[in-house]
Symmetry: C2
Subunit: 479 residues, 2 copies
Amino acid sequence: MSEPEIKPRDNLQDHLREVQELLHRHKLVETLVHRQDMPRHDLVEGLVHKQHIQELTTRLDEMHAADIAFILESLPIEERTFVWDLVKAERDGEILLEVSDAVRETLLETMDRDELKAAAGTLDADELADLAPDLPDEVMEDVYQALDLEERAQLRAAMSYDEDAVGALMDFDMVTIRPDIRLEVVLRYLRRFAELPDHTDQLFVANRDEALVGVLPLGKMLVSDPERLVSEIMLTDPVTLRPDDKAEDAANAFERYDLVSAPVVTANNQLMGRVTVDTVVDFIREESEAELLNQAGLREEEDIFAPVLDSVRNRWTWLAINLVTAFVASRVIGLFEGSIEKLVALAALMPIVAGIGGNSGNQTITMIVRAMAMGQVDSNSGKRLLKKEVGVALINGLVWGGLLGVLAWWLYGNAQLGAVMTAATTLNLLLASSMGVVIPMAMQRFGRDPALGSSVMITACTDSGGFFIFLGLATLFLM
Amino acid sequence: MSEPEIKPRDNLQDHLREVQELLHRHKLVETLVHRQDMPRHDLVEGLVHKQHIQELTTRLDEMHAADIAFILESLPIEERTFVWDLVKAERDGEILLEVSDAVRETLLETMDRDELKAAAGTLDADELADLAPDLPDEVMEDVYQALDLEERAQLRAAMSYDEDAVGALMDFDMVTIRPDIRLEVVLRYLRRFAELPDHTDQLFVANRDEALVGVLPLGKMLVSDPERLVSEIMLTDPVTLRPDDKAEDAANAFERYDLVSAPVVTANNQLMGRVTVDTVVDFIREESEAELLNQAGLREEEDIFAPVLDSVRNRWTWLAINLVTAFVASRVIGLFEGSIEKLVALAALMPIVAGIGGNSGNQTITMIVRAMAMGQVDSNSGKRLLKKEVGVALINGLVWGGLLGVLAWWLYGNAQLGAVMTAATTLNLLLASSMGVVIPMAMQRFGRDPALGSSVMITACTDSGGFFIFLGLATLFLM
């Protein structure tokens, strides 16, 4: 992708506003909707509109693909479709790669088979692999047939990896050189390119069997005497990735070692492709967004202008799970209805015990999950962490629980109720902290992602647990 | 930073395990603790230990600074301090830059003034600016005196910007060339460098007034005829940043335009410095982690081996806020104690209404906050989003609320109670969705970060609101 012609600073919002203005002021959308049954006397108005469409098209042509993607994501579906139709067909492919999954679906729906084929035809094998799951089979079939043998192999390779494996992040735009040539020859070889692939910060050095023997950073080449051999200058032990490595690990390596690109090699050290930092940045963003969305109980990224029913479906799962856990908590309360009838203050106080437990448990589990993701927790440190978290919970429980106990005493003039409140808060915080350590460690042991649903599970424990502890203690000591 | 000598794949965990083994098996820590009062007959054992210390030191010397940082973060404080003492003094600076803030504090505490000065002395001005807030004033004073005039100006510049401004991400390692020279001259000029600065993917082209007139990507230079002039090849309208731009916007630009570096210029287009993608990746990671931590009610990143009291302090704020909102909700219930006394089923059912409202509200607010962060929401789309969210809430409310109503009817044999349950659930979901849109939009209007505390606020609304709606309806229709 070439450098954008337009400075991004401030301009992105301006772009959006400009497009919206062109769309709204001249009622382009209405024109579009009514064009087919337009009466004769509207023809002049139609011509004016045509001029504005032309203006909009020109502006779109000047914009960077990523900026157009942003604008498409920011427009409601009707206007989005209209703008999408004005985009030059040969840019469809790169823009489809930039938009979010949810918006991509809405754009693909408006395209017929030939348009889809044309858009797919402009993409590299690795890009095609990203788009493939969203394309109809017959389109993919045609596109596949149009590829040459090498590209077909690349497409098959790229599609054979898990979404969260390095193979899925890999591209094939590498410049490969031999170790036994002089730098001057490399410089002459490079001049035969029309342009170097994006993010070429190093050349890959392979022997005649296509095995990677080193990398030659451009910076190192440029400061070296052109008479020297590649093999004298190259780094022989670069960071390499395997196609079935976890993408998360590759991202960590990029972050840790400040990489711009890294070669991907097979177990036999055969050079397969490379991963570049722009893909890694996108991956990191998507991961962290998925984590935030999951914590809030959204299954996936949502097009903010998605039809209501699509949104309902996206949020269904977690609401259902939440309903089940809430129902269980409700039945726990049901066990103690007799006690509540006798001392109705229990009903008012019990949500406090549950709530502070949930908050504290979420703090613990977030910290543990995060430390696990960074590989800093093993079974040794597990015990140590448990001890620490229980210590934190004990202090918090005694302090906040004590405060709550005094409040309850003051509100209801019942010292014993205050004591039960303090004890229940402390016990629920102890439960929260130990579950906050145990749940993610158990998830990891069973090979599950410790982050997934951790917040829901801990809250379920602290709700039901909190109600049970508080009402149980109350029944034992106050009835 | 140079390429690491060691491949990162698999090895990081191995490194950690190896260090831990060396530490544990030979009880190095105990040796350290008891060295001062070691009896004579332990001298032989001490010699053996010395040998293992030597082994550990050698291993550490071979490791990449980022890997040592990882190991330090993964070790409990006593062992961490011991390993830190074994690290070569000249590497202290770069490692301090790599570790998390919380761990950095524990490392700095162990260093005396001379060690701190020596460590700071190995850093560039922009790196020093990152470390400065953690260093004692007298150390910074000495370090500042040791800098040359240009470095002092750079340090002052870097420290004058907000943590979340581009100026704080900026470094000064640029290669600048003039527009009116031939590429061949540029190539010869570059050969005089011992090495190019990291992440040099483009040279900055400045005129004699140091105003930026373009950039020359290395890739473009390498494929061009060396006889041509820089001014013929350079890109004249690159993405540029201002030092007081928001770092978040710069990160978005890097992500959107797939940048490796970008020049930072003043309002007069004077070249000040540059931002590189490795800094941006670190920034993105830190931002998304801060967001996750805040959602869980943690004030800041926490050293997992922090002393209990430090952890208590970190979690205090949000627990206190949570306690206040829970107390308010409890008082709302208190208003209806009479009704609960008459119909104790209300106590068991009310947490369900509050809980599902909180879950649904968090879904809405997360989506809106995220769309806002990407600049996709203005006052126009605000109304549209509100309509959509209310629609989603209405469907969810009728479906789930209906289900809950039937359950309540079945459990308590009271059809009217079921109807109240359905109505209250629906109304609380409507409240949740509208507050989920209104709260972040109001925060933004008042210039606040819409993400901060959004989850706590929405949950406070849906808890108190849910209890009030459910118990209020029950009091009106069932009493």
